[in-house]
Amino acid sequence: MDILMILAEAARSAVGPVAAIYALAAVGLNLHFGYTGLLNFGQVGFMLVGAYGVGISVAVFDLPVLVGFLVGLGCALVLALLLGIPTLRLRADYLAITTIAAAEVLRLVYRAGFAEPVTNGVYGLQNLSSGFREVNPFDAGGRYGFGAMTFTGNQMWLMTVTWGLVALFAVFTWMLIHSPWGRVIKGVREDEDAVRSLGKNVFAYKMQALVLGGLIGALAGAMLAVHQGAIQPDQFKPQVTFFLWVILLLGGAGRVFGPIIGSMAFWFLMNFTDGFLKGLGREGLLPFLEGPDYGAIQLAFVGLLLVLLIVFRPQGLIGDRKEMLINVK
């Protein structure tokens, strides 16, 4: 087993396209949970509508990919409003259950038989990335980077755009949080009644935060669609939301760089454990486990990480402990 090779591969995935996409979705979630205190456990639902906005526009209606992005964002806007109007008045834990339920309902609807003419049911849609790759300034067949960090031209293009969006929204978040609007939503997180007593419309602020974070999530979903070139409804299971939560809590909620650091660290750890387990398996050190078990062990590890993080380091890698000690109501 070549431990250096495994570490190098893990480091490569920490800056790769998937880490970028999850970082983007986690930036949206950070706006929900980190700053506004909304327990959104349905972020994957926003990713799903974003991805299918691109997928259906491109694969079924032959529209340009940019229109697909706009459709995805429009769907996310509608979803956020539909989700927010009934649930934002409720206590936080109700919001969590409702959002996870709504995301599951969405997935069930998108994979159902009657939606098959548009969504192609459980098989999903494919051939989605050609429009995006046509405007690729990099040489599609070429290799970029150095040492362990080598990516193809298409990956480079996607990474440039996605990390660019991450940076854009990180700056955007920073500016928002340091504006009067940001102070109000942080106030909502700390004490809703106090903010209400100042004459602010708490519901409207929560709704704005939900919509903004949801749009960022949908953008991440759309990038996922063009990255993979094919999407299936079953890749938008609640696990994705749990990954996003681990990323957010690992990096530090309520910090601009939290989700970015979190995503890189998370995918580094995921790929490292994967490579390490496979390496041990090849050496014959894990005789009682079979190949498919490694994935399960990895997910159990994610769960354990979530528990340990909350118990021992609720502020994550770069968070502020004082900010995470509040009890969201």
Binding site: L4, L108, G141, W245, A300, G303, L304, I310
Partner: protein
């Protein structure tokens, strides 16, 4: 601390930026390939074996591959470029045909593969002759409705529960589905009481409750099909934990603190040691019990699991004053751990309890059911009545309701809140296990069954009112009936969606639930 961590992380990443020669790994590990999975149209979990797929570049054949027993196939390509994949029509079993899509015309697909891409190619099968049947449906709408229902059920996949073959007029189907809904609702109610009581007493939304359901079903499966090394080991560990919990619950005031802790840890480690021994012995100690006693073992183990989580996880967290939201996230972590440990131990197969699959239907008026379903209904009703009696008439039941109603007031009235909470977890864990056995008997046992049930349990407890045991019963029945009866008019795949929609509607109209009191919702 923070800066140090970040520095270490960054240093680690930059260190591996400069390792030379690693670029070759991508080619060794990845390379270009086409792959996919071909599954049966009526059950997407079962693959079709022996379908041949040949890949051409221009007119040159590159490689051919045949699907294995799971329906997986993969063709390794020499490099990026345009390829033509051809599905061999001869190798497809005669009952199926390839579904035509935009990409796949006449069994041929043109694909472009990028560098380093392992590209999936979707090849879907349909039942042969489905295209020909469609006109018939439009000709006779009355019949066609039923046929479409059947078709959809055939296409219904792992997400939708199985609805017993329902036929006949609307009245018959209504009666049949009401019975099925009653059964489903009772199963949900049995599983959800614990969820509701746990929320009532500790304010924790226990996300791992669904996986406790899976745990019960898996344990019953293990002990009814023959427990060897693994079963014995699990039993030994849980016996040790059980003794430790019981010591804590009953002997707390009679033994010295040090002695108690020593005894508890002796029990736990004794259990682990015994487990190791039995695990090493393996198949030498093999035994098997009928399903009902396996279910009893599973219920006891489920109770111990609940108690263990309370004693060694939630109580310390409460003592540390961890906020409720954080506890909620911890329970998600516990759920992930539990689910995937079960997955590693038992595999991802879908199994059924042996000996109860094919049964003669019993006809009761318009409703016909296999005897196993009647037993499920009877067991569930008896258990629900017993739980209601427990809550209504016994001291501990009254204490549970009191703590559930107002924890602080109960504590100041002299109720030992920690002990009541422990009982609630024991009861909740046991009932969740029982629910799992009943659910597995009616449907199939697999590692995600509990998670699928979890959202419906949430719907049930929210519908009935969070924190009230009777609310969970009423809500469970309502959710079960809505889910099943929705298949009268809507596709079976969406039955869970309707139940969840009902929950969202309830939150809009009466957020405290049917039986909840107003002040619970802030």
């Amino acid at each position: 601390m923070r800066t140090r961590l970040v520095t270490v992380l960054l240093a680690l990443i930059t260190a591996f930026l400069v390792i030379p020669g690693a670029a070759a790994t991508a080619d060794e590990q990845g390379g270009e390939a086409l792959h996919g999975q071909i599954t049966q149209p009526d059950d997407r979990d079962l693959g079709v074996e022996g379908i041949e797929i040949t890949v051409f570049e221009g007119d040159d054949e590159i490689e051919a591959a045949a699907t294995d027993s799971d329906g997986n196939w993969e063709v390794v390509l020499p490099g990026p470029g345009d390829y033509r994949a051809v599905v061999d029509q001869e190798s497809i079993p005669s009952e199926y045909e390839v579904r035509e899509t935009v990409l796949l015309v006449g069994g041929e697909a043109e694909v472009t593969v990028e560098a380093d891409e392992r590209r999936p190619l979707i090849v879907a099968l349909d039942e042969a002759g489905t295209a020909a049947e469609e006109p018939e449906e439009s000709e006779s709408p009355a019949e066609g409705d039923g046929a479409a229902e059947e078709d959809e059920e055939a296409a219904a996949d792992d997400e939708a529960l199985e609805v017993e073959g329902v036929s006949g007029g609307f009245g018959d189907r209504f009666a049949q589905l009401t019975a099925a809904g009653l059964l489903f609702g009772l199963v949900i109610a049995v599983s959800a009481i614990g969820l509701s009581l746990i929320f009532g007493t500790t304010q924790i939304i226990n996300f791992s409750h669904g996986d406790m359901v899976t745990f019960g079903a898996m344990m019953a499966l293990l002990f009814s099909t023959g427990a060897a090394g693994m079963g014995n080991s699990l039993l030994a560990i849980f016996a040790g934990l059980g003794v430790a919990i019981l010591l804590g619950a009953f002997m707390e005031n009679r033994l010295g603190r040090t002695l108690l802790i020593v005894l508890q840890w002796t029990a736990v480690f004794g259990g682990i040691a015994l487990a190791t021994l039995l695990g090493v012995l393996g198949d030498a100690v093999e035994w098997q019990v009928p399903l009902w006693s396996a279910a009893a073992i599973a219920v006891v183990m489920g109770a111990v699991l609940g108690g263990t989580m309370e004693r060694y996880l939630w109580r310390p967290l409460r003592k540390r004053n961890v906020a409720l939201i954080q506890m909620f996230i911890v329970s998600i972590g516990v759920a992930l751990v539990l689910r995937h440990v079960l997955l590693v131990l038992f595999g991802a197969n879908r199994t059924r309890y042996a000996g109860f699959q094919v049964q003669e239907l019993v006809h009761l008026g318009p409703v016909s059911m296999p005897p196993r379903d009647l037993v499920i209904i009877a067991v569930a009703i008896v258990v629900l009545v017993l739980v209601a009696c427990l809550l209504q008439f016994t001291r501990i039941g009254k204490a549970m309701r009191a703590v559930s109603d107002n924890r602080d007031l109960a504590e100041s009235s002299g109720i030992d809140v920690d002990r009541v909470t422990m009982y609630v977890w024991l009861l909740g864990g046991g009932l969740a296990s029982l629910g799992g056995v009943l659910f597995g008997l009616n449907q199939v046992v697999d590692y995600e069954m509990g998670f699928r049930l979890l959202l419906l349990m949430f719907a049930a407890v929210i519908l009935g009112g969070l924190g009230t045991a009777y609310g969970a019963m009423v809500g469970g029945l309502a959710v079960g009936l809505v889910a099943m009866l929705s298949t009268l008019w809507f596709p079976a795949q969406l039955m869970n969606a309707w139940a969840l929609a009902l929950m969202i509607l309830m939150l809009l109209l009466r957020p405290q639930g049917l039986l909840g009191s107003r002040e619970r919702v802030g």
